[in-house]
Structure formats: structure tokens, C-alpha cells
């Protein structure tokens, strides 16, 4: 078995192959020199830790050895030879496969206006994180382009390090994609309270480097001078290998219910794949989320070994900014009704119901992990296609767990 991509998804798949009894060889190919590590801390703990931050590895060298997983780091897969069933590495080495998993993830979307700028950067890897972290000193002027999760988490981290932070978002508000306005407003207020300047609803007209800084001119004429601009305007799936191999792709590598591509011996999972989401009528989605990467890695492994299990999970993601924790389960775009449940301690959850009464999503925000338990229960209700009574969702006297039994 061969896995291209040594992020959360690929690593999970490698271990899951063993957990499911596979005894043959496993090659795990990664482009980075480091032992595979977790990416979520890069925008948070890695940015603010007092000591030099080390990558939080997913597994140790000993664990890879114990499970006989051949981790091939610092290596790029150059092509997939489907006829010969082998992966060709950049150094010409050929690795034969019986089944192949593509778990290449997604890369930060480029901002054409920033092309060539020395002071505009993106965050994907641990090395990127170290470079950004080095610039987050007291009074450093940091511009964050894009008011999504990565941008806002970086804004919070930069403030903790004493930087002067401006977030620029072209949409009318932050977190337009996937977070309800009521929750986005809590997060925006928290950032403003910390002294972050939020500039929403204005595009960027130009970006020009000066010697040691960058001048960003907004469409309304406002100018922002920054020592560093971090661009976080979304991610694009890494599909070039799959495309070159003739696999079907459209905003991600197209896979069926079992994460199999148009070649039955090749699977794709995690951020790079577009898959049918069973609980929402099989509509095709692509998720950029840590838990999805893990779950699909495990699932792909089982199906590579001959299983035919569909992906049935509910999408779930989280973000931490300052002391606030946000969690979202499900997809809210079908929703016609929103019910608010207050949990105390300034924590609340919004339940999103479709026209037929099904709970399709729940979004919550509060200090720490205050919303976690109830979001998890909501996720189970969504999974079951439950149609909870709105008044019961609203009342904090009704335990959500009791609705599961209904």
C-alpha cells in the first residue's frame, strides 16, 4: 500500500491499515523534512509559546518502526503510473502499489496582488509558522488578509505577542463561510476589545513592497502599512498529481461513497477530495477540517482493504481565539429556522433546522470548551436525522441527551 501525503489523513490511514490487519508493506510519502505533525496548533500554540515551539508529532519514529510504516519524508511524488501501478518520486525512484491513497491536502489560496511581495506570506507548514512567529514581536505591524479561521486565529496570536493587528476582509463581515452572524459578531467584538482593527467589506486595490514593509491600499483608498501581511483567503485542493494521472477532479479529487476515485485501485481522502455526504442527500462536498481528515484516513484504509463503508460522519470543526472556543457541527445552508439555547457563562448554541424540521447544524461559542458537550450531542441528533421540538432545544432545562432517546 502506498500513501501520498503525510498529514493527519495519510498518517491515520497508515496506522489504520495495520489496525485492520494488513500485513504487507506501507509507504507513506511526505514532502516535508519533519516527522508528520499536527497542523491545528500552527496558528495558535506555535505562535504564542514562550519556548521555541517544536512540531507536535502525530506518531514517533518508534511507532512508525513498530508498525512497519516506511515514512519517506522530504520527497515529492512526481507522477502516478496507473498502468504499471507505481508512484514515481522526484528522484526517479518507483514505488509499486497494490492500492494507492492520495491524501495531499490543500494549499493556501494565492492572492495575485501579492505575487512577488517579500512581506506577504501564507501559513501551511511548521516552517511557515516559525517564519511568521519570528515577526510577531511587540509593536510589529501585522496585516491579516482574510477574516476566516486561520486569519482570526493568527490575529489573536499576534495580539498576544503584542503586535498591532489589522484584519482585512472583502466580505461584509468576518467568517461569512460557515459561521452564523450572531456568533461571528461575538468573535468580532472580542477582537475589537483586544485592539484588533477589523476592516470588512472592502477589497484590496494594490499591494506594494517598500524596503522593509508592505503598503496595502484598500478599494476605498485607505492605506495600511505593515511589517508583515499574512494571507488567509482559503485553500485549494492539491489535485495536480491526480489530474495528470487522468483521474476525475472538480474542486477536489472526485471519489465515490467509499472514497474511491475513478480508478478503483486509487483512493483519495481528506482536504483534497470531493465526496458525497450521505447525511445531506449525497451532495458532493469538500471539507477542510482536522477531524474529517482523520476519519476519512481511517475509512479509506478500511476500504482499501476491501471494505465498502460509506462516509457517514457529520462535518465538525472548531476554532480557538483568545479564551473563546467555537464549534460547529453539520452544514447550515439548508436551514430555515434558528433556535438559540443559552448555556450560561456567556456560552450559547444556535440550532439550525431545515424546513422539514430536521436538525441540520449547530454552532456554539463560549469560554474554553463550554459548548463542546452540547455540540457533540447535537452532532448525534443531526446524524440520526432527528426532528427535535424547537422549544426543547431552546430551554436549558431540557437536557439535550434526553432528546437522543426520543
Amino acid at each position: 500500500m502506498v500513501i501520498i501525503g503525510a498529514g493527519e489523513c495519510g498518517v491515520r490511514a497508515a496506522f489504520a491499515l495495520r489496525e485492520n490487519g494488513y500485513g504487507g508493506t506501507i509507504a507513506l510519502i511526505g514532502t516535508e523534512p519533519h516527522l508528520p505533525y499536527e497542523r491545528p496548533p500552527l496558528s495558535k500554540e506555535t505562535m504564542v509559546s514562550d519556548d521555541h515551539p517544536l512540531p507536535r508529532t502525530i506518531a514517533s519514529i518508534e511507532q512508525f518502526a513498530e508498525q512497519r510504516i516506511d515514512f519517506i519524508g522530504n520527497s515529492t511524488a512526481a507522477s502516478i503510473d496507473r498502468a504499471a501501478k507505481s508512484v514515481v518520486l522526484h528522484d526517479g525512484r518507483k514505488i509499486p502499489y497494490e492500492r494507492l491513497l492520495i491524501a495531499t491536502g490543500a494549499l493556501p489560496r494565492a492572492l495575485p496582488l501579492a505575487a512577488g511581495s517579500k512581506h506577504c506570506v501564507t501559513l501551511r507548514s511548521y516552517d511557515d509558522a516559525l517564519r511568521i512567529r519570528a515577526r510577531f514581536g511587540p509593536a510589529a505591524r501585522i496585516a491579516i488578509i482574510g477574516g476566516g479561521f486561520i486569519g482570526l486565529e493568527l490575529a489573536a496570536s499576534a495580539r498576544k505577542r503584542g503586535a498591532v493587528v489589522t484584519v482585512i476582509e472583502a466580505q461584509p463581515r468576518i467568517l461569512m463561510r460557515g459561521v452564523p452572524e450572531e456568533i461571528a459578531e461575538v468573535i468580532a467584538a472580542r477582537h475589537r476589545h483586544e485592539g484588533v482593527t477589523l476592516r470588512c467589506g472592502t477589497g484590496i486595490a494594490s499591494i506594494n513592497d517598500t524596503d522593509d514593509s508592505v503598503d496595502i491600499t484598500l478599494a476605498d483608498g485607505m492605506e495600511i502599512a505593515a511589517d508583515l501581511a499574512v494571507i488567509g483567503i482559503g485553500a485549494v485542493p492539491v489535485t495536480d498529481l491526480a489530474e495528470a494521472a487522468g483521474l476525475e477532479t472538480t474542486n477536489g479529487i472526485i471519489v465515490n461513497d467509499w472514497l474511491q476515485t475513478s480508478d478503483p485501485d486509487i483512493f483519495a481522502a481528506g482536504d483534497c477530495c470531493a465526496f458525497p455526504l450521505a447525511i445531506y442527500g449525497g451532495r458532493r462536498v469538500r471539507l477542510e477540517a482536522w477531524r474529517n481528515a482523520q476519519e476519512q484516513g481511517s475509512l479509506a484504509a478500511r476500504n482499501m482493504l476491501g471494505g465498502q463503508e460509506p462516509h457517514e460522519s457529520v462535518p465538525w470543526f472548531w476554532s480557538d481565539q483568545y479564551e473563546l472556543g467555537l464549534q460547529v457541527a453539520g452544514l447550515a445552508d439548508e436551514a430555515t429556522q434558528t433556535i438559540r439555547r443559552d448555556l450560561g457563562d456567556d456560552a450559547f448554541i444556535l440550532f439550525h433546522l431545515a424546513a422539514d424540521g430536521r436538525l441540520v447544524a449547530a454552532s456554539g461559542i463560549g469560554p474554553g470548551n463550554a459548548v463542546a458537550k452540547d455540540i457533540r450531542l447535537a452532532e448525534m441528533l443531526i446524524q440520526r436525522g432527528a426532528r427535535p421540538v424547537p422549544a426543547q432545544l431552546q430551554s436549558s432545562h431540557v437536557k439535550l441527551k434526553s432528546l437522543l432517546a426520543a
Binding site: R12, A16, A372
Partner: protein
Amino acid sequence: MSNWVEACTSDDIDEEDVMRFDHDGRTFAIYRSPEDEFFATDGLCTHEHIHLADGLVMDEIIECPKHNGRFNYKTGQAKGAPVCVNLRTYPVKVESGKVLIQLG
């Protein structure tokens, strides 16, 4: 060693739920099972040091509120990725409605 410490009263925790208990610079999680028995473990997930008491209890499983790492709170056993290190458990007894845990 019979270092029994009072953690809470039995009414403080609902059935099939969990509560945080801090003592002497350490943090623990106290559980009440659906069968009305009490258990105790270390309070932080072995993956990323998140307080387990914010997580969901289902039957004999506690789930970390952040990354869904799962443990059997009766035995401390880690139930698979992302957690692979077991939780330490502590003896618990209930006396006159008080929940006591034995710290080694």
C-alpha cells in the same frame, strides 16, 4: 496509603455525567455511570491536556471535548486515535452521600 479526599457529594453529578475536581494543584474528573456508580480519573486528556470534564459521557466512555479522543473511564483505557496513552484511574467510594477518591 489511605489518602481519601472528599471530591463532591453524589448529588453534584448527574447520572452518565462528569465533573471536574481540583485538589492540591492537580485536576481530576469524577464520573457517575448510568448504573449509578462513581469513578475517577486524571482530569486532563493524554493527547493535548484538555479538561475531560467538558466532554460527553456515554455509557462507560468519556470523550475529550476537543478532539474526540475516547477513554473508558472505568479502566482508563484509551480507545484509539488520536489518544493512545491510557488515563490513570483512582479508587472511589461513596460514604453518607460524599464521593471520596483515593490519591496515591
